[in-house]
Symmetry: C3
């Protein structure tokens, strides 16, 4: 289905995809541990945080069963992150926090870019492909928050979704200009990652209605 010119790039992208899954699952597991879920609950939130974005995208574009359901490696990566966090929560929360933010930015970049590629491959129009790429990146975190009874943090915090959308837009523009997808992947992911890291460092955020007047 994909227009993939380069087998090496594909397997690199797959490794990065699984790394992104693992990191997003860590974020879900940490949220679950904080809310005193039991082991099963923590594993469910891990899986959801890592895979809900991609699953929603796949349902919307008609790619069923979704990749995260069909390929057992996504399950293993999610469960592994959940188990580690559950049994060694202090390790993760204390020392890894800064590294995790970087990994999370990398996962966001990769999911946004690969999600856009997949939506384009299924014939979505450019604007919707970019939005579905963004959804792939942010959907897991939204589902994680909803499952825990919270308003999704992405709806009111800094440049998370915008960074994902910027990366997705690069992929769509490159596709319209018929540039090679490998280049689009690298530039798009780098832009998303860079924007996200800068937003964290400098505290960039979008305006909130009323308060900014």
């Amino acid at each position: 289905m994909f227009s993939t010119p380069d087998a090496e790039l594909v397997s690199l992208s797959h490794v990065l995809d699984l790394a992104g899954t693992f990191v997003f699952a860590l974020s879900g597991a940490m949220a679950g541990v904080r809310r005193k879920l039991d082991l099963f609950g923590v594993l469910v939130v891990s899986f959801v945080a890592a895979n809900a974005g991609g699953i929603t995208r796949d349902i919307l574009i008609g790619a069923v069963p979704p990749g995260a359901i069909n390929d057992w490696r996504y399950l293993v990566a999610s469960l592994l992150a959940g188990i580690i966090t559950f049994f060694f929560p202090s390790t993760i929360t204390q020392q890894w926090n800064r590294i995790l933010l970087l990994f999370d930015a990398a996962g966001l970049a990769l999911f946004a870019v690969s999600g856009t590629h997949k939506a384009l491959a299924y014939g979505l129009n450019p604007i919707m492909a970019a939005l579905l790429g963004m959804l792939t990146g942010i959907g897991g975190g939204m589902a994680r928050d909803l499952l825990l009874g919270e308003i999704p943090i992405v709806l009111r915090a800094d440049l998370y979704a915008v960074a994902a959308l910027a990366g997705a837009a690069i992929v769509v523009i490159a596709n319209m200009l018929q540039l090679p997808p490998g280049v689009a992947t690298l530039v798009g992911a780098a832009l998303c990652f860079g924007l996200r890291v800068l937003a964290i460092r400098r505290g960039w955020h979008l305006p909130v209605s009323g308060t900014d007047k």
Copy 2:
């Protein structure tokens, strides 16, 4: 796919559909502004409030990608409503409230009727087609409330869903009697709209268990 006898009716219905999308998006945007979401969050809730009902219906009947994902005009109508509400919230909330309730009733009527037509066109049985029509009308508001961490208002407030179901039932009955769909659309939408406006004016609501004893 649709049995559409009359091109004029179709384009009228499309215009009304977009108007309904715009009004439902306004309701989502206003809820988002009240909850202090940032610009991105407000736009997401706008889109969800306007399109979640139709998207859920399309996923359930196998019409993927859903119309709201495939046709960029739904996105534009949603974003426009979100941007206006975000930057001029006082305008909307103060002066437009009564007009908005009428528009919302019109959107409900139109979504219920057009959703039922689409479910019938995809071969659903009459009862389920009417329920999916109702879902098209009320699903966006339900998703909006869930996204904001609230119990959907439609589950405990006045004759909102019943009005949608009544309009949908007209379409189904007309279909079973092989009456022309144009007539069914007009009568069904008028019934839904009329019931909803009466329910607002007279404070009609369904019983609540326990309190009515």
Copy 3:
């Protein structure tokens, strides 16, 4: 689609499936009455609690329209439970509580087993088929809780999901060993039901991170 060797078993399974739907709908209706929903709201939560697990499974495996949308008997069983609970809430909550827990365990067992069979029939791999069977059993209760603004109870309470997973695993293992599906159904359902009843009686639960250290 199903590999069903025995017509009698199929119709038995169908009767039990509807009984499970009815009992899960009761649990949804009771939760809705407690939260002071109106009649419509109670019926919606009844339907969701009984059918959301199966609907989600069907969407994920590409079986659209989902069975619960296509077969009106699931709707009737759900609405019946909702109406009874709405108009006679004291009857249900007071005297039936213990019987309901048994019925709920039976519904869980049956949904987990039949959900696994269906996922296998649609070509899912064994691990994912077992997880989708579990999801069929627990998904309705999760959706019920989310609709009412609560963290799903299954994420933090006793051996509910594990019992469903155990029953589903039996079906998957029997399928890999090419044992007759009828035997797998009986053994899997019995194991799930037994585990669940034992968990209730003895207060078994999974560890919670932090508190068990």
